[in-house]
């Protein structure tokens, strides 16, 4: 029995894989023999999909721990925000780990540490805009050599021998490339504000490198490092090309910048994951907005390629097409995650498509060869605000299909309504804020009101960096999103910034003066916690899993993801009420789709059915959204789940961490059938 089980799995799995992607359409540089997971997104199409089905509705509830790996020792102190998706190649799991972002190689069957690599970057690493372990590593091979490539907190790209973990001498200088050089602008090597904590992508021997900065609600200056994107030779570490995400004078797109703003404005990096179509030879860049998340007065104009999806020739960096999702952004609607490639059939027509989830609640779908929208995206007039010096785009693009997966904008109807008393309190609370539809501009904050815009989705989404997953058998896209407002107001505060306005909230003029040395005026994300008797201000569902059919442009199902928090379940004002599962008001949750399941962990702690504090890893029937299994974990999912086959058994690995629980990889597998034990 045991032998038959193993044999079956061994034979079936590669076969299924060949059927699905055997034509190589979407296969990656790190071409995968079937059971592996060779790049952050599962494949270069960023589908986070494997057809395996040993972990299924019957076995999910019985998953056992194959191994676990704690990351506390990989840095001077433990990490509580472990966001990586590990890779598995040739029986070895590779990931970044710990507060120093070390790289580790683990035995994929047991979790045993095979090697580790550490870069002590001193002040350059400690002062980096993107610290901690990051989202993982990239794998490259030419069939002879195999390398692990990653970016340090201090923005250096390191290539390691995948077998030994030793730096590759022929890559850059002694295995390292200083990414603060050759960026077509002067950057201070120690303090220059640029880094990266996403995982690299590699195809056709080209490594594509993005750029990330400090969060931009209240930048110190309108002048900042530009987030240009570059291609590097995977063998030598030599720079092959650079794409100016803020065009230089005379380049296409420079006319979308007025008054010389392109010369000093920075940001517009790609801080998240990228996607590659190897056959078309294109890499797709989800670009963030330029300097100033909520005030654009120093960057008049539509501001290409801010908040655009840009397709580049992978070999040359030449732009093939682009689409700006938000013109002259004022809402921090960075394009937040990898777009997903899907070969869809719309009204009988086969389209090589690309689907871009967004913070603002839409999935934008294009023909990935041409950039043409699959369903109309309409330019519609939007209201201008009255912030002095601001430049308002007269129109914004509205997606007509598929429908939004998250609430867009907020009205009184969306406020908490468990009881009339709670609703009344909420109405009173929001009376000092601006409410409105998507693209309502943020106001100057005034104590008497409005304090700020109640922005839904918030500045962190909607969707965020984990993005979604795609089932290529059905072209259904799965993604998590959450619903919780940000308060966005603007203040004039020369002590903090040379920008005329930065994010902040007006202070009570009658309140006692803040202590000396305290931050004056408002602050990044300042405001009052928007809760009503300790409860979220919006009505549930707070967190949602959505399935979208990309052939039809329709939502197939939508379920709350995440158990109702204790603070709701035990709330005295809600005694006796029957409240369906709410999900959580937070979380960046990656999904995995397999032969029959959609799998994702919960974003927050609660008291689990077994009485312990933790979070569940949940599985849904991918066709219906019905939950078919749940496993307790000691902490919420903080990375995104991945899966692999090894010696005939399916493994499921996920990074967890959170309040009071430091980073850990958990590897699950289905128990062997009884006769095999």
């Amino acid at each position: 029995m045991a032998r038959r089980f193993r044999l079956l799995a061994l034979v079936l799995v590669p076969l299924v894989w060949v059927l699905v992607s055997g034509d190589g359409r979407l296969a990656g540089q790190a071409r995968d023999s079937g059971g592996e997971w060779t790049t952050f997104g599962g494949d270069l199409a960023s589908r986070r999909y494997r057809p395996f089905d040993q972990i299924n509705r019957d076995t999910f509830g019985d998953l056992e721990i194959a191994w676990r790996f704690k990351t506390d020792a990989f840095g001077p102190r433990p990490e509580f925000t472990f966001q990586a998706t590990p890779l598995m190649v040739g029986g070895v799991v590779y990931t970044t780990a710990g507060t120093r972002r070390d790289v580790v190689a683990l035995d994929a069957a047991t979790g045993e540490l095979l090697w580790m690599h550490r870069e002590d970057e001193g002040a350059r690493g400690e002062g980096a805009p993107r610290r901690l372990s990051g989202r993982g590593v990239a794998y490259w091979t030419d069939g002879r050599e195999a390398r692990i490539v990653y970016v340090t907190p201090g923005y250096r790209m390191i290539a390691l021998d995948a077998r030994t973990g030793r730096p590759v001498p022929g890559f850059g200088s002694g295995g390292a490339v200083d990414l603060k050089l050759e960026m077509d602008q002067p950057i201070d090597l120690e303090t220059g504000e640029v880094g990266l904590h996403s995982a690299l992508v590699i195809a056709h021997d080209v490594i594509v490198v993005g750029a990330a900065h400090l969060p931009g609600g209240a930048p110190k200056s309108r002048v900042n490092v530009k987030g240009h994107v570059r291609g590097y030779d995977a063998r030598t570490g030599k720079r092959l090309w650079i794409f100016h995400t803020i065009p230089q004078a005379g380049q296409p797109g420079d006319d979308t910048w007025e008054r010389d703003a392109a010369s000093y404005t920075g940001n517009a990096g790609v801080w998240t994951q990228m996607t590659i179509d190897e056959d078309l030879g294109l890499v797709y860049l989800p670009v963030e907005l330029p300097t100033g998340d909520y005030y654009g007065g120093h960057r008049p104009g539509a501001g290409l390629y801010g908040e655009s999806l840009v397709a580049l020739d992978l070999k040359t960096g030449q732009r093939k097409w682009h689409f700006q999702l938000v013109h002259h952004g004022l809402w921090d609607h960075d394009v937040p995650c990898a777009p997903i490639l899907a070969d869809i059939t719309v009204d009988g027509r086969l389209i090589k498509a690309i689907a871009q989830p967004s913070k603002q609640g839409w999935v934008y779908v294009f023909d990935r060869a041409t950039g043409e929208a699959v369903w109309p995206i309409e330019e519609r007039p939007v209201p201008a605000g009255d912030v002095p010096g601001e430049w308002y785009a007269p129109t914004q693009p509205f997606v007509t299909k598929p429908p939004p997966f998250e609430l867009q904008g907020v009205t009184i109807d969306d406020l908490i309504d468990f009881t009339p008393e709670l609703r009344a309190e909420a109405v009173k609370l929001v009376s000092r804020y601006t409410l409105g539809p998507l693209f309502t501009p943020p106001p100057v904050s005034r104590w008497e009101g409005p304090l700020g815009l109640l922005m839904v989705p918030s500045s962190t989404g909607g969707a965020n960096w984990p993005g979604g997953a795609l089932d290529p058998e059905t072209n259904v896209l799965y993604l998590y999103s959450f619903r919780n407002p940000s308060v966005i107001g603007l203040v004039h505060d020369p002590s903090r910034s040379d920008m005329t306005y930065v994010q902040g909230l007006a202070a009570d003029p009658n309140a006692p003066k803040p202590a000396p040395g305290a931050a004056a005026g408002g602050a990044e994300g300042g405001g009052v916690a928007l809760t009503v008797q300790g409860l979220p201000i919006l009505k549930p569902p707070y967190g949602t899993m959505t399935a979208i059919d990309l052939d039809r442009g329709e939502i197939v199902w939508q379920v709350p993801h995440g158990e109702t928090p204790d603070a709701v379940r035990n709330h005295p004002a809600l005694k006796g009420l029957d409240i369906p599962r709410t999900g959580r008001t937070n979380g960046r949750i990656g999904t995995l789709v397999t032969g029959s399941l959609v799998i994702a962990g919960e974003p927050g702690f609660f008291t689990m059915p077994n009485g312990l504090r933790g979070a569940m890893l949940r599985a849904y029937d991918k066709a219906t959204g019905k939950e078919v299994g749940a496993v307790p974990m000691p902490a919420p999912q903080s990375g995104s789940p991945m899966t692999y086959m090894l010696d005939g058994r399916q493994y499921l690995v996920v990074a967890v961490s959170g309040a009071g629980y430091s980073g850990e990889l958990l590897a699950f597998r289905a128990p062997l059938p009884p006769a095999a034990r």
Partner: protein, 137 residues
Amino acid sequence: MPTRAAVLAAWLVSLAPAPAGQMRSVWDGVYTVEQAQRGAALYQTHCASCHGVALTGAEAAPALTGFEFRSNWSGLPLGELFERLRSSMPPEDPGQVSARDKVDVLAHLLAVGGLPAGPAELARDALAGIRFEATKP
């Protein structure tokens, strides 16, 4: 015979909350107003740039008040929350603020969270015996 799921859960989750009856909770007036005021000044200098003057967080850093923060720390001894900010905050140099001062910062977090002040100051050696609770027990 415990079920497989129960065994797994017990093995995975070592941080079981202590029995509620044996501990005080953050609702019992565990800090003083004056201490929280000292903490507020320290907070504004060392923490506000990322977590916001009003602790509401943003893209730069999570909120240190509000629904999700409370939910996530609920059930843990206050010592765990203290250990988190003692060992890792502010991220570029956790030693910048002394452990003693960080107890005051913690008092500020409690005050902003709407938890009642009391007659005695929060002391470091008492933190393990106080439970963080999202809702009043």
